[in-house]
Amino acid sequence: MNIPWTLKYKPKTLDEVVGNKEAKNIILKWIREWDNKPPKKRALFLYGPPGTGKTVAAEALANDLDMELVQSNASNYRTAEAIQKFAGIASQYTTLFGKKRLILFDELDGIAGTADRGGLREITEVIKITNSPIVLTANNAYDPRFSTLRDHCQLVEFKKPKRTEIEALLKKICSDEGLEAEVEALNIIAERSSGDLRSAVNDLQALSQGRKQLTFEDVSWLSTRDRKDAIFKVLSDIFYARNILDARRAVDAADVDLDMLFEWIYENAPYQIKNPEELSAVMEMLAVADLYRGRIGSTQNWELIRYFLDFMTAGVAVSWSHKSSGWVPFKFPTRIMSMSQSRAEREKLAAIGLKIGKRCHMSVGQAIKEVVPYLRVIFQANEDWKNGLSRWFDLDEDMVNYLLTIKN
């Protein structure tokens, strides 16, 4: 249940890889050349923006041709020595079981600095003599560091898939997951991903957590480009308003959800305002606005909303000098995303806290605060203790995995 959809829906064959027809054709043509003898260029260099399917394509290719994928990640080829070791495998044409090998050097961008220069040089040497096909991936093949390496590789560019292609994938996932999604909702997710498939699939999973339906309203705050432009305008009208009336009016003019607008202002204030005193004054205005919002909640007196508005617009505008330190783009409010993602997490944490509380005579809150942190370390450090204590606390597998995965 809890595996990321990016894994669950990873293409198994090259054909299933979304978009990039041209790139896939080059890959197939190149691999066929290997049938007789190693071609002139013994490595493929797949490059393109993140989330366009480079690594996935290499994996799918190996799968299609029933080859064994030998993968080395960035930390493994930092030194020339490590590469040489790796090259030992590469030089053998087949595995013990007669399977051919496909060698993957993933995310070459990860190699940085002079210390790793040796690594890159060694990879070039391996490519010259290899008997197994090699695939390299990187975001930017034209990085000067790759200049020599590039000469020995067949370059293949991966482009961002079209919006319609992303939408089609999202639709397929929805139908597999039994999720009813409005076309407009998928439209927004695809649009927002700007060509990054991985992020589109992640967004879809985060947004649909615990739902059976996904409507336009559920995702509308993610905002299409148009809406984004609209909110950017409101934001700059508020932050840089010349007087309080303009600041107040900016909200009336825009058709945006007020809580959402507040989140945008709150997220962006520290990026726009660098002077510590001014930032502090602006944050205080937002805190006061929030105070009124809380009072509306507890009294149900919606008249108070005007004060909420006053402080988040006019209050922000007059509390700083508008001297920005150069143009800073507005950022998407990340808090909202993390809130929706972590709601499920917090529920899990509470369930664990309840089990612990029963055993250790404490409240859920105390258990989360005083036992969970230590339990996490114990679980990560000691397998026997993990198993024994999970049994003692009666934690299910899901809970144990959750404790193991929280990063410290």
């Binding site: 510590p276 930032l279 404490m362």
Partner: protein
């Protein structure tokens, strides 16, 4: 059970064999448990500290009469343990039938407490003791209204139920309840007792603990035995000799609420990063805003900032605390406080 078995010697020895077998299996299985529970005393006689309190409680057991009580004191000083031991001494092995543990912060609303108490206290307990015991933990987290309702419940069921209210601060318990309860004030254990306690567990668990490791545990737990025990167990799970380094490394890994780190990040002018730390505490680790502000308050006084600013900040912290109680958003209020720290940091730097 043994009495019945004595009639048949062969059966008896056979059964005893089985009993020994099963208990050894049970021991094996139970060897994995939290040491806070494994080493929690089961009788007032086993409690080595809080002598005066224990003596008074023992006299309750002797007369088989217990008044309503308030156990007040800092965490990890044995309040819950004392309540449970009292119950076990009073009722014997079947004590669970006569004792109910409630948690004021879990059982939302006084209505839940009232209903639970009603059903629990309605039936008289059979046996020598004519009342049941209700342990209400974190009683100081109850609102004034809830406490008023609790007071009426206490009065109504005095015949059949006695309350032990557990709280960090007895001052947060309303006066009418206080006047109906026998107060017990728990204090931090003297250092030697804490040392003995840790050594006792270490010996039993066959741990190698070095002096500086013991010292580190005492330093971090500051008299809170539960915390000390948890730290010891965590350090032991790593499987190395327990010294200063292992202790600090496991505590560092365990402690997500790096409040001090967050405050320093803000003081150094990185608001965005400090806000991210705050967000992690609230969302990822599920800490309550009021807990975080409590820690901010105590950490602030340890910060290397001029006293003038400490007082200023204390005022702001107090205001934020109050706003949280009024139902404002935790992250937004607390990050306004972080922005103030950024401001303080900048002014201090200028002053130098």
């Amino acid at each position: 059970m043994n009495v019945t078995f004595n009639k048949n010697l062969r059966l008896n020895s056979f059964l005893q064999h089985i009993i020994i077998e099963t208990t050894s299996i049970r021991v094996l299985k139970l060897s994995y448990e939290m040491w806070t529970e494994k080493y929690r005393p089961n009788s007032l006689n086993d409690i080595v500290d809080q002598e005066e309190i224990v003596n008074r409680l023992k006299s309750f057991v002797k007369t088989k009469n217990v008044p309503h009580c308030i156990f007040a004191g800092p965490p990890g000083t044995g309040k819950t343990t004392a309540a449970l031991c009292l119950a076990q001494d009073l009722y014997g092995p079947g004590y669970r039938e006569y004792v109910m543990e409630l948690n004021a912060s879990d059982e939302r609303g006084i209505n839940v407490v009232r209903e639970t108490v009603k059903t629990f206290a309605r039936t008289r307990s059979i046996g020598e003791v004519s009342f049941k015991i209700l342990i209400l933990d974190e009683a100081d987290n109850m609102t004034g209204d809830a406490q008023q309702a609790l007071r009426r419940t206490m009065e109504r069921y005095t015949e059949t139920a006695r309350f032990i209210l557990i709280a960090n601060y007895s001052g947060k318990i309303i006066e009418p309840i206080q006047s109906r309860c026998a107060p017990f004030r728990f204090t931090y254990l003297p250092r030697e007792h804490a040392i003995n306690w840790i050594k006792h567990i270490a010996e039993n668990e066959k741990l190698i603990i070095e002096d500086d490791g013991l010292e580190a545990i005492l330093e971090i737990s500051g008299g809170d035995l539960r915390r000390a025990t948890n730290i010891l167990q965590t350090a032991a799970s790593v499987g190395k000799p327990i010294n200063e380094e292992t202790v600090y490394s496991v505590v560092g890994r365990a402690n997500p609420a790096d409040v001090q780190g967050m405050l320093l990040t803000a003081l150094n002018g990185n608001f965005v990063e400090a806000r991210k730390k705050l967000r992690d505490m609230l969302l990822k680790y599920g800490l309550a805003g009021t807990d975080i502000i409590g820690q901010i308050h105590s950490e602030t006084f340890k910060l290397n900032v001029p006293d003038k600013w400490k007082v200023k900040l204390a005022n702001i912290i107090g205001e934020v605390d109050f706003r949280l109680l009024q139902g404002s958003n935790e992250e937004i209020q607390l990050s306004a406080l972080l922005a103030k720290l950024v401001e303080a940091g900048a002014e201090i730097k200028r002053g130098q």
